[in-house]
Amino acid sequence: TAAAPRPWRLFGAMCLLRLPRITQPLEKEEEEMAALMEQIELEKSHYSDHEIRKLEEEERLKRRKESIYDDDEAASKTVIMAQDLEDQWEQKLLRFKPAPRITDADKNNNRTSLDRKLDRNLMLLVKQKVGNQELWLLPQAEWQPGETLRRTAERAMATFLGDHIQAKILGNAPYGIYKYKFPRAIRTDDNMGAKVFFFKAFLQSSDLSQAEVKEDYLWVTKDELGDYLKAEYLKKVNRFLLD
C-alpha cells in the first residue's frame, strides 16, 4: 500500500564551514598558567650544555678582567662565545617577518572574502528567493524523488559554488531541521509547509577563485549570523554549530 503523500516539501541545505587557519588568542587565565608552567619547568630543570658553556665563559671573562696580567688563556680563547651565538639567533629571529594574523580583509570587513577571521569558522550564506522574498539562507535546494537528502545538499552547494568545490561532508545524516508552514495564502492541504534538513561539510580547497558564484554570497562567523538570518531559522541553525 502506497503511503499517502505527505504535505511537507523537503529541502536539503548545506552548511559549508571554512575551518580556522590560525590559533585563537589565549585567554588571560591560559596565558598566566602557561607562564607559571614555564617557570616551574625552569626551576625543576638542570643546566643544559649551552648554559654551562655560557657560565664558564662568563667566569673566564670575569677572571680575566680581575687579573689583567694573567693572559695565558688568551691562546686557547674560543672564537665565538655562547652569548654571541644567542645574539646572532635573536637577530635572525627579528629579521624574519611572518604573515600578519589580522589580514586586510579583516580591516576592510570584506565579508565576501575567505581570508577574514582566520582563527574562526566561516559559514557560507547565499541570498535566495523563497516564495516572493529574497532571504539570506544557507544554500538549499528542493529534494527531488530518486536522490538522498545528502545528494540534494551537494547539489545545492554545486549550484552556488560550481562543480569543482572540494568539501568533506560529515556523514549521511542531517544535523538539524527547520520546519515552517507556508503563509495562509498559499497553504493548501497538500502543501502545508516545508522542512529544511541541514548537512555539515568542511571546505577542503583553500581558494575559490575558480568558483563562479552566481548570487550574492557571504562568509560569516557564528556571531555574525544574527545580522542576516531570521530569528527562528537562526535558533535552529545555532543548535548544531560549535564555536
Binding site: 505527505r6 580556522p20 590560525i22 604573515a99 549521511n172 545524516a173 544535523y175 522542512k195 541541514f198 560549535l242
Partner: protein, 189 residues
C-alpha cells in the same frame, strides 16, 4: 727457533740447507716430502662435519628459545652526564607571596577549565539533540530517506587535516635549503 742459534755461532760459519724440505737444522729432518697421515677416509669427514652442523643447530635453537631482549626506551634512561652536581640550578628559594600566588592561580585555572569543559559538554549535547530531532522528522517523512541517512558513510574515515598554525602561510616564502639526517637508533629483535 733457528735465529737464536745463528746469532750465537761464529758469523763465518755459513750454513746451508740440505734440501728445501729441511727448513731448519735442528728441526726434524724430513728427507722425503712427507704428508701428515694418509688421507682420511671420506666417511669420517662427513660424520664429523654433520656432528658439527648438528651442534651449531642446537646452539641456534637454544638462542632462539631464549626470551627476546627488551628494547631499551631511550627516553627513560638519563645519560650519566646529566647527573653531575654542577648541573644543578642554583636559584633563590620561593617567597611566601610567590607560593600563595601560585596556589591561587592553580585554583582559578581549575575553575576556568571546569567551566570550559561544561560548556563543551553542553554544546555536544545540543548537537546530538538537534540531530536526533532531525532524524525523527525525517522518519516521519519517508522511511527510505531515513534508512539512507542512518547508513554509515565509508568515505568519511580516515579523515586527515593539518591543524592551525600561529601565523597564516607567507605567500612566496622560500624555505632555506638543507638536508635532514635522521640519527634515531632502530632496534630489531
Amino acid at each position: 727457533l733457528c735465529s737464536f742459534f745463528f746469532s750465537s755461532w761464529m758469523p763465518q760459519a755459513v750454513l746451508f740447507r740440505g734440501s728445501h724440505w729441511q727448513s731448519s737444522l735442528l728441526a726434524f729432518r724430513a728427507s722425503l716430502p712427507m704428508r701428515a697421515q694418509p688421507k682420511k677416509k671420506k666417511k669420517v669427514d662427513v660424520k664429523r662435519e654433520q656432528a658439527q652442523k648438528d651442534r651449531m643447530r642446537k646452539k641456534i635453537k637454544k638462542l632462539e628459545k631464549a626470551a627476546p631482549e627488551m628494547i631499551p626506551i631511550e627516553d627513560f634512561i638519563t645519560p650519566l652526564k646529566y647527573s653531575d652536581s654542577n648541573r644543578v640550578r642554583s636559584l633563590p628559594p620561593l617567597s611566601f607571596e610567590e607560593t600563595e600566588r601560585r596556589v591561587l592561580l592553580l585554583k582559578k585555572w581549575c575553575l576556568f577549565k571546569q567551566k570550559q569543559d561544561n560548556a563543551e559538554k553542553k554544546a555536544i549535547q545540543s548537537l546530538v539533540e538537534a540531530q536526533q530531532e532531525a532524524l525523527k522528522e525525517l522518519r516521519l517523512e519517508s522511511e527510505e530517506l531515513y534508512q539512507a541517512a542512518i547508513r554509515r558513510d565509508e568515505e568519511l574515515f580516515p579523515f586527515e587535516r593539518d591543524g592551525p598554525n600561529y601565523t597564516p602561510p607567507l605567500p612566496g616564502y622560500d624555505p632555506p635549503e638543507g638536508k635532514c639526517v635522521d640519527i634515531t637508533k632502530v632496534y630489531t629483535q
